[in-house]
């Protein structure tokens, strides 16, 4: 314990020293899990970084490091940014949680923001987006537009965020189309274009005419375009190059407003540790343009659904909802609490198949 204390105070002194050097400009650092050229997850975070630069101009300096492996290398990369005088550091992958906590403990004067995690400290916030709100909109469009009543879903890893998305999409598809069936493929990757293309093809060959994806490449879009008569939704980024068909809409991760607000808070000295989970209301989740391929009435309904969520009038997980095994989860009118949603490890009633473990 003594040793850690020693190190902490050494780092503290250092943090103070470097903090004093970079007084006039605020330095914001980003740790990315993938290359900024991935066209998806990291690409969108980097757009957020560029938005900071544009918004604040000379008042900020941004630095980033891409393709940082999760684990020991991440800890070094984060420490290095803190040492170089960063005032605020965003670590943008779940796997960076433990390293971020470790570094944040050593640099109490530097502010840290970790995406999608659940551990906080006085100088460490977490932020995440309620992507499931976007899934609800997609589910609605999917349920209305499918002719085969089969929706294909390319899932990545069996973690709460992905399961939440499947449930939200299914509930809203089922609401408008009781005949709906979901076919789910676990790709066990966030990013492997060839495998994603194969997964999409497999789903289409088995009758799916709507493909939802929780992986980041546009490969499923291309597979759908090739097959024809299949609709898709952009994931993470807009994937606008596949408009108007097969891509009929998208969920866009829009980190810029949050990044700008938090940078501003550091500048003003008002930054405080928090756990935020923002959705359509704050603009962190954006619904990309719904194209003309979607009938006007369906589009209006989808937009109304989006509006209701934006104004807080409607929650996608509102009872009555049963679990897959038939046991009651939410009673009539009851709304899911965030705790359950954050750790969601079950399908809702009606989805067939099992979550792998």
């Amino acid at each position: 314990m003594k040793l850690t204390h020693l190190l902490t105070s050494a780092a503290l002194a250092l943090g103070l020293a470097t903090g004093a050097v970079a007084q006039d400009t605020t330095k914001v650092g980003f740790i990315y899990v993938g290359p900024i050229g991935d066209g998806g997850w990291t690409y969108e975070h980097d757009k957020g970084r560029l938005a900071i630069e544009e918004h604040f101009g000379d008042q900020v300096e941004t630095v980033y490091q891409e393709s940082v492996p999760e684990g020991a290398d991440a800890e070094r990369a984060i420490t290095q940014m803190a040492l170089q005088g960063a005032d605020l550091i965003f670590t943008t992958s779940f796997g960076f949680m433990e390293p971020t906590v470790a570094v944040a403990e050593k640099f109490p004067n530097v502010k840290f923001e970790h995406a999608t995690g659940y551990k906080t400290l006085p100088n460490l916030s977490t932020y995440s987006a309620r992507f499931y709100e976007g899934r609800a909109v997609q589910g609605h469009i999917a349920g209305k537009m499918t002719k085969s009543n089969i929706v294909g879903y390319i899932a990545s890893f069996p973690i709460p965020e992905v399961i939440r998305g499947i449930n939200a999409a299914y509930l809203h598809a089922k609401k408008v189309n009781p005949e709906i069936e979901f076919k789910i493929i676990w790709a066990y990757t966030w990013f492997d274009p060839a495998k994603e293309a194969d997964a999409a093809t497999a789903l289409i060959e088995q009758g799916a005419d709507v493909i939802l994806q929780h992986t980041d490449s546009t490969a499923p879009q291309a597979a759908a375009e090739k097959a024809g008569d299949v609709i898709t939704f952009g994931q993470a980024s807009d994937m606008a190059e596949y408009k108007p068909l097969p891509r009929v809409s998208s969920i866009i991760d829009n980190w810029a407003p949050y990044y700008i607000a938090r940078t501003q808070a550091v500048m003003d000295g008002t930054w405080e540790s928090q756990q935020v989970w923002q959705g359509i209301d704050k603009g962190m989740v954006k619904i990309g343009e719904i194209t003309d391929a979607v009938p006007a009435d369906v589009r209006d309904e989808a937009l109304a659904l989006k509006q209701a969520m934006a104004e807080g009038e409607y929650h996608p997980f509102t009872g009555p909802i049963n679990r897959q095994d038939g046991s009651a989860w939410l009673a009539e009118g009851e709304v899911a609490d965030d705790g359950t949603l954050l750790g969601m490890d079950f399908y809702v009633e009606g989805i067939s198949g099992q979550i792998p473990n």
Partner: protein, 360 residues
């Protein structure tokens, strides 16, 4: 026309000069690359090679060199024994993963019991795990005559899938909100491979790497087994007459390499990495092969080569975040360094002669 003429013995002079030559050539070529990307080449090279060692924050980076270099050195030492004897284990990455899994598995099984015996048990399990994984190609080679290069490589992919299965299944942290990845061993005192002296980066893995270097040096220069290994590599026939039992050599070389790689994995998972996660392995097992060759399969050479690799990693990261160089440029730079280091080695073993064209 230029001709290569084999030297009777590798040149001692060139053994030392060539690596320096390669570094200088790489700096020139790399500098040109960075200039082409619109960055100041001198600053970029200085950032990569100077900052981690003597820069403002060297107090942090120097220990990091040990942390990054230790697994590379530990694995490369094990591999070099086999490489010298002509036994090609290129599956250290798999042995590293399995060692981490067995080591972490023992630690996690005891959670949350605190005892001083747990860490030594994990060390043992890690070494055994790596050893066992390496025994597969060894036994198949002896029993069926299969090629160990290929079997050990195939087993890397198997180990990677095993790692994913473990991180998502049996080893998943029950308090981890359903996310993949094990408990953090750094928060479990009995299983934590902590820094031994604060601020030095020295953890048990670094200690093990140094011991391995010394051990390998003594083995190769003073022990009959070391002599057998060298002899087998240079003259397999003569070795057999000298009483070398090739089967035993295969078992010893692959076993040692596997055990050391397993240890490296175990020390990494219980220390710097902290947990079993899907992306736990970052290619140390493959990079170590390059390190072994850069070090000319000599223990001291490997020590230096491991630290040099670590330097380019860490310096490269600094260049990325300070100068905005893309990660790809750093990767390319490392690739160049390896190319040149491998290429100039020809001068150690061969003389370049101007030869007249033979008249037919």
């Amino acid at each position: 026309m230029l001709k290569l003429e084999k030297r009777p013995q590798p040149s001692r002079l060139w053994t030392w000069v060539t690596p320096l030559l390669a570094v200088v050539i790489t700096m020139l070529a790399g500098g040109a690359l960075f200039a082409a990307l619109g960055k100041d080449p001198v600053e970029a090279i200085a950032t990569i090679f100077w900052q981690p060692l003597f820069g403002e924050f060297a107090f942090y980076y120097r220990p990091q060199l040990l942390i990054k270099g230790a697994p590379l050195i530990l694995i490369a030492i094990g591999l070099s024994l086999g490489f010298r004897a002509g036994i090609w284990n290129i599956g250290a990455e798999g042995q590293y993963i399995v060692g981490a899994l067995t080591g972490a598995g023992v630690g996690l099984a005891f959670y949350p019991t605190e005892s001083v015996l747990i860490f030594p048990l994990m060390v043992l399990a890690g070494a055994l795990g790596g050893w066992g994984w390496a025994m597969i190609p060894a036994v198949l080679k002896l029993r069926f005559g299969t090629n160990e290069i290929l079997v050990s490589l195939m087993l890397v992919y198997v180990a990677e899938q095993l790692l994913a299965a473990m991180a998502l299944g049996p080893m998943k942290n029950p308090e981890g909100m359903g996310f993949p990845g094990s408990r953090n061993l750094r928060q479990y005192e009995s299983a934590h491979n902590a820094e031994l002296i604060t601020g030095t980066g020295m953890h048990w893995g670094v200690v093990a790497a140094f011991i391995a270097v010394i051990f390998a040096y003594v083995l190769l220069t003073r022990h009959s087994l070391g002599y057998h290994i060298r002899l087998t590599g240079q003259a397999p026939r003569a070795a057999r007459f000298a009483g070398v039992r090739p089967a035993r050599l295969v078992l010893v070389c692959l076993g040692t390499a596997g055990a050391l790689a397993g240890l490296a994995g175990m020390f990494e998972v219980s220390g710097p990495a902290g947990q079993v996660s899907i992306d736990f392995n970052v290619g140390y097992g493959f990079t170590a092969i390059i390190v072994a060759f850069l070090g000319r399969l000599h223990p001291l050479g490997i020590l230096l080569a491991g630290l040099l690799m670590a330097l380019t990693y860490i310096g490269g990261e600094i260049a990325q975040s300070n100068m905005g160089l893309p990660a790809a440029a750093i990767q390319l730079f490392q690739g160049m360094l390896l190319f040149f280091l491998l290429a100039v080695d020809v001068l150690t073993n061969y003389r370049i002669r101007l030869a007249r064209r033979e008249v037919a």
